[in-house]
Symmetry: C2
Subunit: 329 residues, 2 copies
């Protein structure tokens, strides 16, 4: 039965619910990770929470508020170790779980923040709360990849989006690129925008396409990300950075989406600053069109192998989306 010690199948399932809730905050919780939490008692959900925009309240605080008095003796599922550090913006979550009388806590991933990093779990255990760790950790790692990349590499996680023909063109030779992919793929592209704090384009794309880069999905219009320009010359309405490496300075940006053009994409690949590829491929041939990429600094074919791992693929109408991630080897 859900919530009882040792029932791993149920633990995995409830953690799945917490992981799904975590997605709601994607692209809006920086500098905090987007965490999800469900509180379960007698097989019934009594509290649901996810990190709110700007990073507070935390997921556990939101779920505990919903659960109220019922939390006593319940099990909390959370995608990240509850924090051990209070702040002016809220109390620490491990303390709050203890205070609410939670009997058991199931955690996907330890918190790399040095202020927590095991101390949240220790505090729970000291107070007599049973703690299970490492449930669906790989998925939690992917779900918080922006936060973790910022922690580990001092920069946002970078996704490069390309909408291509079968022969790898992103436009006709004369620049015509509307539309290579169909409406389903374009809608998915807008959804991906909503999951990023910022979108970057190069100067060529700015001048050629004057892209709006907003989220044109009903109900998500307010999720349009910040607009970043890769350029030596500032542009009004845009945040400009001169070089790919300057993404480190983009405060509040843990997820960066690169939308074009070939030159901007190539300069990020050359700098080894792309973590994820979103390839939308349409079932058509262009021939002699604009290639997706320019020189990316590849010395030989052998160096090209083993860098990318296919992690997701699906049809979107007649187009195919493939997601590749930096290989972990």
């Amino acid at each position: 039965m859900a919530g009882r010690s040792g029932d791993v199948g149920a633990d995995e399932r409830w953690m799945g619910a917490a992981l799904a809730l975590a997605e709601r905050g994607r692209g809006r919780t920086a500098p905090n990770p987007g965490v999800g939490c469900v509180i379960v008692k007698n097989g019934r959900v009594i509290g649901r929470g996810w990190t709110q925009p700007g990073g507070r309240p935390h997921a556990e605080a939101m779920a505990l508020t919903q659960a109220g008095e019922e939390a006593r003796g319940a099990t909390a599922y959370t995608t990240l170790e509850p924090c051990a550090h209070g702040s002016a913006r809220g109390p620490d979550c491990s303390g709050s779980l203890v205070a609410a009388g939670i009997g058991r806590t199931v955690i996907a991933l330890g918190d790399p923040d040095p202020r927590t990093n095991g101390r949240g779990i220790a505090r729970l255990r000291e107070a007599g709360v049973e703690v299970v760790d490492g449930i669906r950790a790989a998925e939690a790692r992917r779900s918080m990849a922006g936060f973790l990349t910022r922690r580990a590499r001092g920069r946002p996680i970078v996704t490069l989006k390309l909408a291509l023909s079968l022969d790898g063109c992103i436009a006709m030779a004369d620049g015509e690129s509307r539309w290579i992919t169909g409406p389903e793929a374009r809608a998915h592209g807008h959804l991906e925008r909503a999951r990023h704090e910022a979108i970057l384009v190069g100067r060529g794309t700015l001048l050629a396409d004057a892209p709006r880069l907003d989220v044109r999905l009903r109900g998500l219009e307010d999720r349009s990300p910040r607009k970043i320009l890769l350029s030596l010359n500032p542009q009004s309405g845009w945040t400009s950075i001169p070089q790919p490496v300057n993404i480190a300075s983009l405060a509040g940006v843990d997820h960066l989406l690169i939308e074009g053009g070939a030159q901007a994409a190539s300069s990020f690949l050359r700098a080894d600053l792309v973590d994820r590829l979103l390839l939308y491929r349409a079932p058509l041939l262009i021939g002699g069109g604009k290639p997706a990429l320019g020189d990316i600094g590849l010395a030989s074919l052998a160096d090209a192998h083993g860098r990318w791992e296919l992690t997701d693929a699906r049809m979107l109408g007649r187009d195919r989306l493939e997601v590749y991630e930096r290989a972990s080897n």
Copy 2:
């Protein structure tokens, strides 16, 4: 039970066996279609046949020889309407089926040859043989696409093979292309060679790569196809044609495989002479490499849509094979 009237499920299954046998002759039966045949009695196969190299004996003749006296009262499954025209190279198959006492014949596809075209079926029915037609016709049409294209368009069916990176390059900028795809994809490419009577390359590929274009698969070495060169200048050891349209004159070639390079591929696409795309895509980026195609005469993106239909896809090691066919609309 198999072979009994009205048992469509069994008819479909036995026709599947006939279709599989037909594949054995692929690329070797021109000018005849590659047909498969099984003869079934009391749920047991008593004869199997497929069109032999050069087109004779026919599949039905081979299967009837195997079945011998047992053929009396049995059911014959054949992927193409049995011929109604005898020749110096063999008797007509509809007559042979009648003479052998076959009680029922199940056919996938009618024969467009004006010498048969319904007359094979008529002759069987006149002799009291029960005939069922149209079972798995679409698969039979695909299986005999070379023959049918020669009949309908006066030329072989043309398959364009491309081995690509994710960004649509077929080589590095300096020409390095060994290897983009892995051993599984390359082995599949050799298998496809064995299924074609001829392979074509352009002059640039001849000079740059001096390709052997043979089948390097154990047991299939003798299946290496004829070598065709797209060039105004004859070359010893090669059949030269000056223009894509000249494929019509390639006697004994019902399946033509184009292996490169970009210029030859583009000239066939420009002439609308490509029926099938074999895309082997490796999970790597090249950037600024040699594009798969040059100008294919596309006037606008709108014209590019709806031309290709995905008909098969599979992983080959880390690479992905996609097969597209000319859309039937």
